[in-house]
Symmetry: C2
Subunit: 324 residues, 2 copies
């Protein structure tokens, strides 16, 4: 399996095969490290191909690096699966993992394979960012603009039965916004990636920064596929506001830095839109046509009305969100 994976890369002195990897950190940079786990029946189901599973397990980790403005360096992968798992399924997972790793330039330097009652992948990703340029959740200030990359809600609609391929792909093969994160490192004041849902993750950012956020619903970028599908839903904005798993970035940028941020996004060919602003206070307000839009109180997804995706899976994902 090791031959499928990219085992070499910047700073890799000794990769998979000894008791541990030896890694030379880049000079003048701080390291960025994150861990995420995906579990069969909780984070993915039978609609995911093995390669989708491997891709997504890596992509969600890379998205965390993107949100810190880091470039990817090294990953360590703990894979567990039931004894009766066909070898071709494991090979498929490895192939997807390898494809996402190569695409985004991260080397797999450590691994562990274990028996377990369900297929699961726990991945630690390590990146680097120049000293003083890392993006955190806590730097937004009142007066900053709220920017968002790409489009929102596709991943949630991609879980619906008979979802258009464009939507399903966004659920199963998310693109971490690494280039944008790096382009805005040292320029944006704060960032977070949208895994739990636009409103919920914006709430995390506002709380960490000690400010409130105003989200203008009409400004939320939606894909053509989203608009087509959402017309048939009772609440066409729900997936974009609360769906989660889009792995887009939300950023706080000082108004004077907006032109530079737009230029940086154009250079890396990533859509970037103004979605609202940060103000004194706390919490998230969603407004449409200048009037408040009703959003479930506190937007705690454990209690919120079920989004359009399969609610049990989705709720399980959310329960999984708080870090240790």
């Amino acid at each position: 399996m090791a031959r499928i994976l990219p085992l070499r890369g910047e700073g890799v002195v000794l990769s998979v095969g000894d008791d541990a990897a030896l890694l030379r950190p880049p000079a003048g940079e701080v390291l960025v490290a994150t861990v995420d786990e995906v579990v069969e029946g909780v984070h993915f189901d039978a609609r995911f191909t093995p390669a989708d599973i491997g891709w997504k397990a890596m992509a969600v980790n890379l998205s965390d690096l993107a949100a810190m403005g880091a470039r990817p360096l090294w990953a360590l992968v703990a894979l567990a699966f039931p004894g009766e798992t066909p070898a071709r399924r494991i090979l498929g997972v490895m192939t997807g993992l390898a494809a996402c790793s190569r695409r985004h330039g991260i080397a797999v330097v450590g691994g562990n394979v274990s028996r377990g009652p369900a297929l699961s992948l726990a991945i630690t990703a390590v990146g680097a960012v120049p000293e003083g340029r890392a993006l955190t959740r806590s730097g937004a200030r009142a007066g900053d603009l709220l920017l968002g990359s790409g489009v929102f809600g596709d991943a949630a609609l991609g879980m619906l039965r008979g979802a258009a391929p464009a939507l399903a792909r966004r659920q199963r093969r998310p693109t971490p916004r690494l280039l944008l994160g790096r382009a805005l490192a040292g320029l944006a004041r704060a960032a977070i990636d949208v895994s739990d849902g636009l409103v919920q993750d914006l709430g995390h950012m506002a709380a960490a920064s000690g400010v409130s956020a105003v989200l203008e619903a009409e400004r939320i970028p939606l894909s053509p596929a989203y608009r087509r599908r959402a017309r048939r839903l009772a609440d066409p904005l729900s997936a974009a506001l609360s769906g989660g798993e889009d792995y887009e970035l939300l950023l706080a940028v000082a108004p004077g830095d907006l032109p530079a941020a737009r230029a940086a996004a154009r250079r890396v060919r990533t859509p970037l839109a103004v979605l609202g602003r940060f103000e004194e206070g706390s919490g998230v307000r969603v407004v449409a046509g200048g009037r408040p839009l009703e959003v479930p109180p506190g937007h705690d997804h454990l209690r919120a009305p079920a989004p359009p995706g399969p609610s049990a899976r989705r709720r399980a994902t959310r329960r999984a969100a708080p870090p240790l």
Copy 2:
């Protein structure tokens, strides 16, 4: 839960709570990184207290750092458990994890909590070792002495029904040989930690180094509790040779460096014994009274006769051993 864990430490700029941790690597050192996962029903059973589970999950990772001669810096923990798990069980796991982390000076800088069908912990540990002093498996040369720390076989006997507390403790609360690893970094030529079994891990070391190993059975250090228990077994040496999970270190040391190695071990109060030697060739020979001792062919634990511990669990652990 975060309050239980040691979240701060050397180089920790930003710990648990953002999209990722920010870590400043120590100057002039290379990083050492490893991942290991433990899964309920595979690596531990109901005889393990929650705190034992947490301790051991961290200890097995620290043992890999020890085998590279590294000092521990940072850990990232992916914890999964079934929805119905009592909170006190999770708290117990965290408490054991925290105790082992504090004891050995590693900071927990990242975490992920997920639902899953069984309790599992996938931990990535990162350490550092001065440039050029890391121990690997591959540096042993013909003529080197084979040294081993501590005693062997206790952990395997600790899985037997009614095991003496001293043996059970070695199974459930292994001590990573971090001080010894660091003391011998730059002095020993090669090292490995014994997770799969003395003969098997010695085989890994010999193969990686391109030499053969001669293990003198009478020289294997055994604890008083081991000797008492082993008297009642059909093959009293089996647990020491093949039992695994002792997390002792095996080291290759040039004969001229033996006095320095012994002095270093004394300074860190860790028993260190000569167990044999490395020669030209390949494979592992176990000798007793100068005559070859029969050891299962190739010592492939997937096919080897069941060791004294519960064989299903043990075999599952072994199948889990090969890295990605």
